[in-house]
Symmetry: C2
Subunit: 410 residues, 2 copies
Amino acid sequence: MSEIKVIKGGITAAQGFKAAYTEAGVKYPNRKDMAMVYSETPCVSAGTFTSNVVKAACVQWDMKIVKSDKPMHGVVVNTGIANACTGQEGFDACEATAKAMSDKLGIPVDSIAVGSTGVIGMQLPVDRLVAGVNAMCDKLDSSIENGTNASIAIMTTDTVNKEYAVQFELGGHTVTLGGMSKGSGMIHPNMCTMLAFLSSDIAIDKSLMQEAVSDVIADTFNMISVDGDTSTNDTFILIANGLAGNDKITTKNADYDTFKQALSVVCEFLARKMASDGEGATKLFTAHVVNASSKKDAKVLARSIISSNLSKAAIYGCDANFGRFLCAMGYSGVSFDQTKVELFFESKAGRLQVFKMGVPLEFDEEFATKIMKEEEVIVYVDMHDGDAEATAWGCDLTYDYVKINADYRS
Amino acid sequence: MSEIKVIKGGITAAQGFKAAYTEAGVKYPNRKDMAMVYSETPCVSAGTFTSNVVKAACVQWDMKIVKSDKPMHGVVVNTGIANACTGQEGFDACEATAKAMSDKLGIPVDSIAVGSTGVIGMQLPVDRLVAGVNAMCDKLDSSIENGTNASIAIMTTDTVNKEYAVQFELGGHTVTLGGMSKGSGMIHPNMCTMLAFLSSDIAIDKSLMQEAVSDVIADTFNMISVDGDTSTNDTFILIANGLAGNDKITTKNADYDTFKQALSVVCEFLARKMASDGEGATKLFTAHVVNASSKKDAKVLARSIISSNLSKAAIYGCDANFGRFLCAMGYSGVSFDQTKVELFFESKAGRLQVFKMGVPLEFDEEFATKIMKEEEVIVYVDMHDGDAEATAWGCDLTYDYVKINADYRS
């Protein structure tokens, strides 16, 4: 398999992709709050979307496009207002936004995905969105800086922007895959996560790209949680324009495997980054479950550990209160025998076993605290019940999470 | 149906029940940390227990007793240590505790339930428990004060003790039902909640009492949540000694209905109290879902609303951010059409509609804040999809919840 090399940049890293951003004043003045991604060359698309039955208007708009066989040219995103629970007026807003981009760039209206994030149950100011689209179309540019600014423009409560790009070789052709994503509250993805957009110049069959996306999302974005709340707006879209010139991937050959591996690297990076930048978070909180009876059980257990409020509070307090992790495994819905379980804490500072075959171990509290003070704390669980494993990523629960969300809207 | 009258007292209110408490020094000195309930007259028992597969040793001990047809005489409870994830040593501690009470009072060892609450994954100091049991056996007393002190002795992070008692007439005989419970973290009951013990002097068939308990728990204790974490120790036990002298209830007659109604009144009171005293809580947060397509759906929707961290933070911030409630309904697993939904905020201060048939309404923010500043805030949701309804109770998410749980163990 070809080497996968990390490069600078994000959504504009791949050939033929341009980006733009603007201050449209969607909800607040003087804030980058719209971003655009555009490929003149038509793209194939793949995506996954929230499983919340209350789907935002933009999610419904995008699902229709991604599920069709029509080519895509780009995405236009706003922050501030989520365009969820907005009825017909919300759908009209999606269409007006896409139409503005369509008119300006001479591309079909249904080749444009629309993304929104922010307050639910509020109507979008369509005139300001359209003005923002018009301004962005004039500023589209393939520079790395523009890609970075686009990743900044889609931030809401995020404290850092999230972008990543990799390159790999397919038959002598350099293929690039990059993307951006944003969190950082209402993050408990099911099918996908809050906004993530990726672009690539790879040539690949649409259905194979969708299959790779579905597989990779299941192990990356769907394995993170900030607060247990599955958003109305979760959207992941990857578009690919084929400009890399590789032999088009039409079967699950070695090139497909390399692409999928690269996709996994990018998605895992963005997912981890989203978890560690969860609202109010001070730490990345990782659960690694090994030797479970099935992949499904391993995933449920790992997710349950990192989703538990009590576990998250213990991680914040650097408290090796391992009973909370076992408790969260116990109510996860997975059946298991606690007398077979071993539990360890891990970080850069070391590794410590605290529970062995149903019995608590005596341990050095000082060393435990030292382990838990690191930026990433791993709870490692050996189920001794099979050979399946899974990893999930979350963050600690802090005062700031409460502060951010007690007055987010106002 | 006979009138149900609230009376003073709790676990000792019914005839023939005595209680005691002590400072056994289970985990901390100078703290009431053990309680005992005893009826010389043998009792029938009914109970529900945690669905967490990691069940505390005491839960496993109690389940065996309640499921058997053997008479029960009482309960002995400690706080500080939960006796969960403790292996064989944990079971031995249950037996030693029950045996001490058995020896002292001359009752069978398997007529005594054992309850524990506190830190998971730590062994109990059996010598101190046994000394505590011996001390309590000497102080058993049927006074209301002793009942109240028992309800205080089972508190952990609770800020108030929780007890309640009612009386009703069955064929000229006065029947009394009373009880006590404790919260206030790791509360997301599934089958039952954290410790709750009830006693009655009613004469009733064991299997009918169990049926009434299972029905009532499903609509009361199982409809509260503090933090989404289903404990390893959830235990609800009701024991009844028949001393009221009523015609023994052996069929689902009018007396059964009266008893069930009284049980519902006591359980709802204790459940609401537990929710409003959730760790760090400043408010009772109630979700009332009406006109749902089934009872099951109504319950899932109501529970999802009050369990959402983002909804709970909005309630804390007095922010009428209703999209979060719709979002929580959307990911609950229940399928529904948002264009049929209406949503209101209610409290003593008034009632306000904010969402109607898929569309957000303009509303007076000042009035909304006024409504949300009350001690109990109700989110009222009309699904327009059937005639089933359900109520769930939770609390707000506050800085203090994080504070309490970031260093609970130490």
